[in-house]
């Protein structure tokens, strides 16, 4: 900002008297007049109007005595100068609103000279000028002035906000108006812009920009309020479990692009009903519950979920819903029998083949019967390929719109799965090109009947109880009880979305070979159990698919990055960081800020990669959440302000741990260097790296508030700040400091921001990590489950120790390395 020197002032106004000159300089300084005096006539008109109405307040505000001020105003009015066109200018200058907000405000209000406006304006000016350092120091000048201007020019808010002339009452009016707007949400219209201005102006008048949320504990009733009372929806993948549907469920587009999916997690709270409720009766039609209350029926209804074969919670390997080894052995022996005959007009051989397919593909009768015959590998259905029988499946895609990014692993809609050799040898005699036809000749009801009769015979013969449902659900429940295989495998195999794996399914990715290997391992385990001993041909290898397609196909998550693409990005960024010289990156502001941005981007992406953070605002909002002593990090992604449902403690790989420590040293050094140019942010960084902050938190409530405040990352700026510039217009560049929002990161990072989770899920699965540990790291718990609950023998420390070697391996393979900041090493 070029200043008006006394020399120019005396030139312009023909002033000789030193005192007059001083007064004039002071007046122009107070209103922040530009050096070319542009628009001064209009701005000074406002000042004069204020002065004529409130002479004493204006003189104290400007610190100029009455007569001198009057004289100065007169001099400005009688201003005659050869270059006076700027002085008369009627248009608002460029950049004034951000650079000289007060002058801009005075200029604009010259068109609005009423006593009402004057009172409001003077109150604002007094407050602004008396507390200027605090307001400017917090970077709030521009937004406060804007809020005042917008609220005053808006007729719907003007009278209500600014009718009082005292500060306290104005604040109260603004507060009351804000509360009223927030509470009346008739026809779902919320004036968001207005509300924002009201917030800003309230903060301004109170000089307190701390956003204090109220953290009242939500009652069950309040939580219930988020759900529809009438509309129920079936839980995806379950047969008859119902949940009330959420009233509004919106996902911002930015998240969808980053690979977050709405159906990935069920809503915060799920209230399970085991069947859809009967239609509501009119009050006079309802029976009196006091008479017909049947506690036995009530008990049965609540327990029904628990004893149902199709249930999905808390399964153990010896549950009745899973076929026990002796049952499995008898069933298998019967199904691999070669006796002939017919039941219900259907050949026994065919019945057995259908049951076998049901058992190993985890499908129900209906879907087995409707499998088509495929002539090529691209079609869905059975495909006979010389010796092998292929089942071509097309699982439900995980995204709404296909993702085209060369850095991601390609997903094909159809893949082939070879059926196990074991099955083929037993079934192939009856299994030829004509297999599908005779199956589809009979109606499903007839099939059902025939199978029931077949099983009835079997049960009677061996005194066991095997039902069709148990066969259908055996594999699903077995996988769920053992937790050593990925439940997503069965989703793909059965082309069905299930309740157990709805979150995991978005992150799992398999190539064709991998999924065949995994499934054959699973089937081998099944046959081994059925044989009661090690199967004779235990070294049965997965039959290789003679693929007609050139590229290997894959299935599952559409957002899994290619490992080499990711490591190329990492090594590029690392080499940029390492190629710099300490003095070069710290001596000028431009170099400093560029280095800081690059270093921050590297650290934040490593954080996302190493923990499996979701794409959220400001991951790791505070260093207090990095529990490095335990090699863990408390992360809280996709969280609302009051609920804790996504807060969890996850393992932190070694490299990430040391990088976080480096970053801590970095922000300290960086803050020292920007102390002059960005003193507000330097203070923020000093506060982040200070351990003394908690001394202020004396009570339990304060500590809880602090935790809630830092946990909810979108409410705070966090540690990862980017210092950027924005071209407002041709000649003017505005410095902007941004927190790490997904939108911002997307412009600097070519992968979808959820890449870390997708890559990590696949990596852990490939390394045969136990399902419980995978859920622990990724937070894929079903509603109602909690991390490491009481049936688990794990605790956090053990879980982290078990995960660390694999995660460290992952970070090493990707080429991550901890890079100390150059700013902290002066002698390099």
């Amino acid at each position: 900002m070029a200043d008006l020197s006394e020399q120019t002032l005396s030139d312009i106004f023909n002033l000789i008297d030193e005192e007059q000159l001083n007064t004039m300089a002071k007046l122009l300084e107070m209103i922040d007049c530009p050096s070319d005096l542009r628009g001064l006539r209009k701005a000074i008109a406002t000042v004069e109007y204020l002065f004529s109405l409130y002479p004493s307040r204006v003189t104290t505000l400007f610190g100029i005595d009455h007569n001198s001020l009057k004289a100065s105003l007169l001099i400005i009015h009688s201003y005659q100068h050869k270059n006076s066109s700027a002085f008369w200018k009627e248009s608002h200058g460029r950049g004034w609103k951000s650079e000289r907000p007060i002058y801009s405000l005075l200029f604009i209000f010259s068109d609005n000279r009423t006593s009402h406006a004057a009172a409001a304006l003077l109150l604002f000016l007094e407050h602004y000028l008396n507390n200027e350092t605090k307001i400017v120091g917090q970077n709030r000048a521009e937004e406060s002035v804007r809020a005042f201007r917008m609220l005053y020019t808006d007729e719907s808010t003007r009278d209500e906000c600014f009718r009082e002339s005292s500060l306290d009452r104005t604040v109260n009016n603004i507060f009351a108006m804000k509360e009223r707007l927030k509470s009346d949400d008739d026809d779902n219209y919320l004036p968001r812009a207005q509300l924002g201005y009201l917030y800003q102006l309230e903060h301004f008048y109170r000089l307190n920009w701390v956003t204090r949320g109220s953290h009242a504990r939500k009652t069950a009733k309040q939580i219930r309020g988020h759900y529809s009372r009438k509309r129920y929806e079936r839980i995806t993948g379950s047969d008859d479990l119902m949940t009330p549907s959420l009233n509004t469920q919106k996902l911002p587009r930015i998240y969808e692009e980053a690979g977050v999916t709405k159906s990935e997690d069920l809503p915060d709270v799920t209230i399970i009903k085991s069947s859809s409720p009967p239609p509501l009766l009119q009050p006079y039609e309802q029976a009196s519950t006091s008479i017909v209350k049947d506690s036995a029926l009530h008990w049965f209804n609540t327990k029904k979920v628990n004893i149902d074969i199709r249930r999905c919670h808390n399964l153990l390997p010896n549950c009745r819903t899973i076929l026990q080894p002796h049952e499995l052995k008898l069933l298998m022996r019967s199904l691999t029998n070669t006796s002939t005959g017919a039941i219900g007009g259907i050949d026994k051989k065919l019945t057995r083949a259908v049951l076998l397919i049901m058992l190993i593909t985890a499908r129900d009768l209906q879907s087995v019967l409707s499998i088509k015959q495929a002539s090529t590998q691209k079609e869905v259905g059975f495909h006979f390929d010389g010796n092998d029988i292929l089942l071509n499946v097309a699982p439900e895609p995980t995204t709404l719109s296909p993702v085209n990014n060369e850095l991601l692993l390609p997903v094909s809609s159809v893949i082939s799965i070879t059926l196990p050799e074991h099955l083929v040898t037993h079934v192939s005699p009856y299994f030829s090109d004509t297999f599908i036809e005779p199956i589809q000749q009979k109606k499903p009801v007839e099939w059902q009947d025939a199978i029931q009769r077949y099983l009835k015979d079997l049960n009677r013969k061996f005194s066991i109880q095997i039902s069709l449902t148990r066969i259908e659900h055996h594999l699903i429940n077995w996988v769920s009880a053992h937790e050593s295989y990925d439940p997503v495998l069965l989703d793909i195999l059965a082309e069905k979305t299930r309740y157990q794996s709805r979150s995991a399914k978005h992150y799992a990715y398999y190539t064709e070979t991998e999924i065949n290997d995994e499934l054959h391992a699973l089937w081998n385990a099944l046959f081994t159990e059925a044989a009661h001993q090690q199967a004779e041909n235990s070294d049965s290898l997965t039959p290789t698919i003679s693929s007609e397609l050139k590229m290997e196909r894959g299935v599952g998550s559409a957002f899994t990055p290619k490992a080499d693409a990711l490591s190329t990005w990492i090594s590029e960024k690392a080499s940029i960081l390492l190629s710099n010289k300490p003095f070069a990156v710290s001596s000028t502001l431009e170099g400093l800020v560029n280095y800081h941005n690059a270093y921050t981007l590297y650290t934040i992406i490593m954080l996302k990669s190493g923990t499996g953070y979701r794409a959220v605002y400001n991951p790791l909002p505070s260093l207090d959440l990095a529990l490095l002593r335990y090699q863990s990090i408390c992360i809280s992604d996709k969280d609302s302000k009051t609920l804790f449902n996504h807060t969890r403690v996850v393992a932190c790989p070694d490299i990430l741990k040391s990088q976080i420590l480096h970053y801590q040293a970095h922000i300290e050094a960086f803050a020292n260097l920007i102390a002059v140019n960005f003193s507000y942010f330097a203070q923020q960084y000093f506060t982040h790296s200070s351990h003394l902050q908690h001394l202020k938190l004396t009570s339990k409530t304060e500590r809880l508030e602090q935790f809630l405040a830092i946990k909810n990352s979108s409410g705070t700026d966090g540690m990862f700040l980017f210092f950027t510039e924005r071209d407002e217009h041709a000649s003017h560049i505005k410095k902007v400091v941004q927190n790490s929002s997904p939108t911002f990161l997307n412009t600097y990072f070519p992968f979808p921001l959820n890449f870390g989770r997708h890559y990590m899920r696949r990596y852990l699965q490939k390394n045969n990590i136990h399902q419980e540990l995978i859920k622990f790291q990724l937070g894929h718990w079903m509603t109602g489950e909690t991390t490491l609950e009481k049936f688990s023998e794990l605790n956090h420390v053990e879980a982290i120790q078990a995960l660390l070697p694999t995660l460290n391996g992952m970070m090493d393979e990707l080429g991550w390395r901890d890079i100390p900041s150059l700013l902290t090493r002066k002698r390099a």
């Binding site: 200043d3 008396n130 000028t588 002059v676 140019n677 203070q683 000093f686 002066k826």
Partner: protein, 192 residues
Amino acid sequence: MDTELGKFNEKILEGLDFRKILISEIVFDDVIHSLFASANPVAGIRTTSDSHDKDATLYNLLALQSPIICYRFRKNYRALTGTFTLASLHHAQAKLRLKEDAKIPVFILEKKPNESVKKAIALFSLTNDLLSKCFISDAKKIGFYLRAWFSKDEGKKSLFQSAEWSALFPHIDTAEKLASHLSISKTELFRR
């Protein structure tokens, strides 16, 4: 001494005020902002990055021994010298070693100096530290700071003949003289 700075220097003691004011009322002047943006003296300091944490907490003494000179601007104060002191005090406040309403003694100029004098005051303080007290010993870095802070006047051979420089160090008017003053080699001083 007939320069502008010289005149200013003669009159400076008239009406100079030494008062205790709130730390929060002081902000850095724009001149300091632009000098630090072009060449940040903190970057040249040899100590480690967390040097503030290792200092003793003698803030009153610090404010006296390297005082802040400021002038009144609107209702606040803008600092021209003592940037290291002020940064250190801000740091202390952020780290809760000083209270938010702490006051320190500062020199307050009676009148706001004009733009060139403001720059000269800031430069005098910084270059004095740089050249006379030698807080940086690396010749290359000294050269970097001087090139960033002083501009060469048109038609002059080097920045040592510029008005800004000669007002501060009138007797060092060539690079050779500066090199011998610092007892370093001239080539080192201007190697980029």
